[in-house]
């Protein structure tokens, strides 16, 4: 019963969000980066299955949202949850993961709107002053995104624990919830650490590539 209600409660915003994506009417061309990143994230998640919760999925969802717009992040998060669970097992947790990861991507998209990637030196290539400015700017950018990634992964894990709690052991009350969180803590820390590592490794170099792709093929953020 509780499982049913919680699925419905999570399902309604999911449906609303899916129609939100539909309303944007992205072209296939705009969708492709999302699909490539999602496929990478799913492969990473499945490949890293032996190490519990150490996976690049969250980092890649954040990248998708950050560079290709909030709806891209949203879509990517939902797809990662939905499709990777085909390999890892669907269950009542799928809608929760879809919603939470989708929102992680959406948040990254909002962040990407605030902090623009466009480099000053790309506008004025010959000014060394601006180049230095760029370097500092990039470090700040990296820091902001990594903080966001760590917080998002921790929250993601905690929300998944809440799902477990609400669905199966809610009768046990607060001690049960706290115990679930405690049990999930190492997992969530591992998740946050992996997100952090993948973001450090990919954000700047991949960001350059994404930026080039966007200008080369005229991909719009969605």
């Amino acid at each position: 019963m509780n499982l049913l209600i919680s699925s419905v409660v999570v399902g309604i915003p999911l449906i609303v969000l899916v129609f939100g994506i539909e309303r944007v009417k992205p072209r296939p061309r705009d969708l492709m980066p999302v699909i490539v990143l999602t496929a990478l994230a799913i492969l990473g998640r499945v490949a890293a299955m032996p190490i519990p919760n150490f996976q690049p999925a969250t980092a890649l969802i954040i990248l998708a949202g950050f560079f290709f717009g909030r709806h891209a992040g949203l879509l990517s998060g939902m797809l990662v949850a939905l499709v990777s669970n085909i390999f890892m097992g669907q269950g009542p947790w799928t809608p929760w993961q879809m919603l939470t990861w989708g929102l992680v991507g959406y948040g990254a998209g909002l962040l990407g709107d605030r902090v623009s990637w466009a480099q000053p030196h790309e506008v004025e290539p010959r000014e060394p002053e601006k180049n230095r400015y760029t370097k500092r700017r990039r470090i700040i950018l990296l820091a902001v995104v990594i903080i966001y990634g760590v917080v998002a992964s921790l929250l993601f894990g905690m929300i998944m624990d809440v799902q477990f709690f609400v669905a199966y052991i809610w009768e046990s009350g607060w001690p049960g919830l706290v115990a679930t969180w405690m049990m999930g803590l190492p997992m969530n820390v591992a998740h946050a650490a992996s997100t952090c590592i993948f973001l450090v490794l990919t954000l700047i170099p991949w960001g350059k590539k994404f930026h080039r792709l966007k200008t080369k093929y005229g991909i719009r953020s969605i």
Binding site: L3, P28, R29, M32, I42, Q90, Y168, E171
Partner: protein, 294 residues
């Protein structure tokens, strides 16, 4: 689809052990029929630890319940029979639902999924199917990149990031091409009626209306309509009957109310869950008969 939603909802509605048991048995039977015993065994194997966690948590952290099993002195914890039963019921429910999901993902292949959802949510349905295609493709490319790039042990991590980066840009470039060719073949939208006007693209191929060049139909026949109606009716009956008759069931403070379960609920649930196997059985029978005749 309606069948799966119905079955899962009915399973979730009640904690009645009989309903849960039925759901589990039929889910297991259907999985064996469609996928074989091995798949069932593998599913149960990884479900084992998880259900164990559910049972243990419920027993340990739930202090409600009148029948005391035993109390630990130093932990000041009371273990009750009710919470143990509750945990077991929920574990059974979990297993049954997951088995139904397993079956669902085997039977709803991607072209069926696309056919069903493309009119409602074209972008989402298309993305789901495309991601499913992109996974093996990416895997294959990864293999190729790794084959071309055998690193020394010290440079392993650096090489890994390089390979990943190469994989990403290769996939991206290729994906854009795929997108263009898909658009040219009219894959982008399911309904061509609103296709032209919603397009702000500047490419020449964007403005023209195109029909899809490859598409598989699943015609909706009278047979399907009857089956769908039966499934919906059964699901609604079963849902209502289970909801009203199993309401009496309570775990706390004392486990009671198991005996309240109307016959209607039981029959409806059994029929609903047996339905696909029944249809399959009928088909098999007819096939055998026609084979004998000739």
């Amino acid at each position: 689809m309606a069948f799966f939603v119905g079955v899962i909802v009915v399973t979730l509605l009640s904690y009645h052990p009989l309903i849960l048991g039925l759901s589990f048995v039929f889910a297991a039977a259907s999985v064996i029929y469609y996928l074989g015993v091995k798949v069932l065994g593998r599913s149960l194997m990884w479900l084992g630890p998880m259900t164990a966690i559910v049972v243990v948590f419920n027993t340990v952290f739930n202090r409600r319940g009148a029948t005391e099993l035993f109390t630990t002195e130093h932990l000041q914890m009371t273990f009750t029979l009710e919470s143990l039963l509750f945990g077991l019921s929920i574990a059974l429910m979990l297993t049954a639902v997951i088995l139904w999901f397993r079956l669902y993902q085997e039977l709803m292949t991607s072209d069926r999924f696309l056919y069903l959802f493309a009119p409602i949510a074209p972008t989402f349905a298309l993305s789901v199917t495309m991601v499913q295609r992109w996974i093996p493709l990416t895997k294959y490319r990864w293999q190729q990149i790794r084959d071309a790039h055998k690193p020394s042990r010290f440079a392993a991590i650096r090489s890994l990031t390089h390979s990943l980066s190469a994989l990403m840009s290769w996939s991206m470039e290729d994906a854009i091409q795929a997108a263009d060719s898909m658009q040219a073949r009219g894959y982008s939208k399911s309904s061509s009626s609103n296709y032209g006007k919603n397009n702000q693209g500047k490419g020449a191929h964007d403005t023209r209306k195109r029909r899809r060049s490859s598409f598989r139909y699943f015609p909706f026949t009278t047979y399907d309509a009857i089956a769908l109606t039966v499934v919906i009716l059964l699901a609604v009956t079963a849902g209502l009957a289970v909801f009203f008759s199993a309401r009496e069931l309570a775990f706390f403070p004392v486990y009671r109310g198991v005996e309240y379960l109307s016959a209607t609920a039981l029959i409806a649930v059994t029929l609903l869950m047996f339905f696909p196997l029944l249809l399959e059985g009928g088909e098999q029978l007819r096939w055998r008969l026609s084979a004998q005749k000739t």
